[in-house]
Amino acid sequence: MADAITADTAPARASARPAGSGDLRLRLRQNAGLLGAVALFVLFYGLYNLYHPRGFSTQVLIQNANEILTLSLLAMAQTVPVLLGGLDLSVGAVMTLVNCLASHLVAGSPAQIALGIAACLGAGAAFGFVNGCIVVYGRIQPIIATLASGAIAMGLALFLRPKPGGKIDADLSWAMTNALSDFAETYGLFEDGKAAWFQPVAWIPVPLLVLSAFALLVWVPFRRTLTGRTIYAIGSAEGAAYMSGLPIARAKLAAFTLAGFFAGAGGLFLAIQTSTGNADIPQASTYTLNSIAAVVIGGTSLLGGTGGAIASVVGALVLRAISFNFRIFDVPPLLQPLVEGLVLLAAVSLGALRALRAKNRLELFR
C-alpha cells in the first residue's frame, strides 16, 4: 500500500503554511498586541505634546522621562514571571523595600555611593531569588507566593523606614534626573558637557538612557540565552519543556531573580528621584497593579509564553501618557478618576477584538 501514497502530496502540506504569509507579515501577526500598544502611545503622547505649550521640548521630555522610568522598570520586572505563566505581586513591595534601603545607603563618598547602588540592586535581585526558591522548591503558585512575600517585603521596608526620610546624594539626584548635559556638568565630564562632539546627544534625558541600558544590556541578551528561552518554553508548556530536558528550576529562579532585580532598580531610581525612602503601602500596590496593566497593554499574554519586556515598557508608556493628558485638557477634577478608569478598561480590552474575530471558538481556550 505504502507505495501508492508517495505520489506528490504537496497540497496536503499547504495547510502547514497559513495562506501566503511572508515572514514579515508573520512577524507582524505574531506581534499584533505590541503594535496596538505603540499606536495607543503615539496617539496619547502625540495629543499631549501637540497641546502642551512647550510640546516636543527637552524640558517636557525630561519631565516625562523621570515620570515613566520607575513604572517602566516595574513593567519589565513584571514581564519575566508573566512569561513564565505566573504573576509577581511583590514587585511594588520590592521596589519600596529597595527604595527605603537606598535612602540609607546611597550617600557619602563616591565609593560609598557606588557600593550603596550595588547593594540596592543586589538586594532586589536577592529578594527575587527568594521568591524563586519559594516557587520552585516550595512549589507554591507564584501569584500567591508573591502576594505573601510582598507583604514581608513591605514589613521590612517599614522596619527600615518607619516614617519617610533619609537622604540621597544631591548631585546624583540632580544628575540622574536631567539631560545628559546636566549630568556631564555635575560631574565635570566632557568639559562640563560643553564639548562640541557632545552637543548632539547632550539633550538626551538620563532616565531614557538608563531605561535603554536595562532593556538592551540586560533584557535583550538575557532573552537570547538558553535560560531566557526556557522561560518562554515553560510559559508555553511546562511539561513539554521538562520533557525536552530544559533547566526548569534554573529558569524559574532566574525569572524571579531578574524580576526582583528590575523592581529593585525601580526602587533605586525612585529613591534617587525623590532623594528619600518612603514605605508607602498604597503606593506599592499601585505600582504592582500598574505593572500588570502595563504588561497586558504591551500585548504579553498573562498565560505566558509570548511577549516581552520591551513591549511592557510601551505598555507603561501608554499608562503614563493617558494621565499626562489630564494636565492639558480640562477634565473636571472629580471626573478624572472615572475617565482614567474607562480609558484603562478600554485599553486592556483591546485584546478582546481577537476573541471576537476568532472563527474557531476552540482557539479561545489557549
Binding site: R139, I144, G239, L338, L345, G351
Partner: protein
C-alpha cells in the same frame, strides 16, 4: 462512595491544618492577655461572637471570591463593588436601599462576566479596570451629588443587630455558606465550576455552557460583595469611600489558606470559611497585641507561605 466527595477528599487536609492553626492563634493571644490583663478574654463567647460578626463581612466577600477562583479567575473589583453597593444603598435609602445595593452588585457582576467570559479579557486585568471605573463613579457621585450616607434601619438590622445574642450578620453568613455548600457539591452549576476550572476547553466541548457559568460565577461574586457592603454600611451606620479596600487581598488569602487552588478546579467551601476565621482572628490578635504595622505585614505574609508549605508542595506540570 460518591465520585465527587472522593475527588475532593485530599482537599480536606488543609482545612484541618488551618483549623489547628486557629487554635494556635487563640492560644498565643490568650497567653498575651493573661500576661497583660490577667484574663483569658479571647476565649470569652462575647469576643468570639464579635469576631464572627465582623468576620461575616469578609466571609461573604471570600465566598464570592472562591466561586471565581474555582473557575481559574479572580475578581479584583470587589473592593469598590462593595463600596459602590453600600453608597448606592444609603443614597437611595428607604425600603429600596438594600435592593438598590444588590442591584449594583448584579450590574457589576454582569459587566465582569461579559468582559471575562465573552470578550475573554483576562479577569485579573478586566476586574482591575472595572474597579477603577467604580472608584471614579463613586468619587464623581460624592463630589457631584453629596448623596445621603446614613444606613437605613433594615441595613442596621442585618449588619449590626443581634437576635437573642446572635448577630444577624452571622446568620446571613451561615445561610449563604450553606447555600454555596450545596451549590458546589450538589448542582450542575457547581460541578461545572470545577470542570471549567480544570480544563475549560474540555468542559466547553462537553456541552457545558461555559460562558454562562463563568458569567454567573462573577455575578454571584459581585452580589455577595454587594451584600457585604450593604451589611458593613449597616454595621458602621454609614457608607463611606474606600470602605472595601481592606477586603480584597484578605479574601483571596482566606480562600487560598482554605485549600482552594489559586488556579482553580480544586477546593472545598468549608476551607474558605476556616480561612476567613483564621485571617480575622489573626488580624484581631495582632491589633490587640499592638503589633506595629511592620511586624503585622511580615507575620501576615509569613503565615500564608508557611501554611501553603505545610499543606504540601503542589504537583509538577507533568506526572
Amino acid at each position: 462512595m460518591n465520585a465527587l466527595t472522593v475527588q475532593i477528599r485530599p482537599d480536606t487536609k488543609p482545612i484541618l491544618i488551618a483549623a489547628g492553626f486557629i487554635l494556635v492563634i487563640l492560644g498565643v493571644g490568650t497567653i498575651y492577655t493573661l500576661a497583660t490583663q490577667g484574663a483569658a478574654t479571647l476565649l470569652s463567647p462575647a469576643y468570639l461572637i464579635q469576631q464572627l460578626q465582623t468576620g461575616a463581612f469578609l466571609g461573604l466577600v471570600a465566598a464570592g471570591m472562591m466561586l471565581v477562583i474555582l473557575i481559574g479567575h479572580i475578581d479584583l473589583s470587589v473592593a469598590w463593588t462593595l463600596t459602590a453597593a453600600a453608597m448606592t444603598a444609603t443614597a437611595v435609602g428607604g425600603p429600596w436601599a438594600i435592593p438598590a445595593g444588590l442591584g449594583v452588585g448584579l450590574a457589576v457582576g454582569l459587566l465582569n462576566g461579559i468582559g471575562v467570559a465573552y470578550l475573554r479579557v483576562p479577569s485579573m486585568i478586566f476586574t482591575l479596570g472595572v474597579n477603577a471605573v467604580l472608584r471614579g463613579l463613586m468619587v464623581a457621585q460624592t463630589g457631584g451629588f453629596a448623596p445621603q450616607t446614613a444606613a437605613t434601619d433594615a441595613m442596621r438590622f442585618i449588619g449590626a443587630e443581634r437576635v437573642s445574642g446572635v448577630p444577624v450578620a452571622l446568620v446571613v453568613w451561615v445561610a449563604v455558606s450553606l447555600a454555596i455548600g450545596v451549590i458546589l457539591t450538589r448542582t450542575a452549576f457547581g460541578r461545572s465550576l470545577y470542570a471549567i476550572g480544570n480544563r475549560e476547553a474540555a468542559a466547553y466541548l462537553s456541552g457545558i455552557p461555559t460562558r454562562r457559568v463563568t458569567c454567573l460565577a462573577f455575578v454571584l461574586c459581585s452580589l455577595f460583595a454587594a451584600l457585604a457592603g450593604v451589611m458593613l454600611a449597616g454595621y458602621s451606620t454609614k457608607a463611606f469611600q474606600g470602605m472595601g479596600d481592606a477586603y480584597v487581598l484578605p479574601a483571596i488569602a482566606a480562600v487560598v489558606i482554605g485549600g482552594t487552588h489559586i488556579l482553580g478546579g480544586r477546593g472545598r467551601y468549608m476551607g474558605t470559611v476556616v480561612g476567613v476565621i483564621l485571617i480575622v482572628l489573626l488580624n484581631s490578635v495582632l491589633s490587640i497585641m499592638q503589633m506595629p504595622e511592620a511586624g503585622r505585614q511580615v507575620i501576615y505574609g509569613g503565615v500564608i507561605i508557611v501554611m501553603l508549605l505545610v499543606y504540601g508542595r503542589g504537583e509538577r506540570a507533568t506526572s
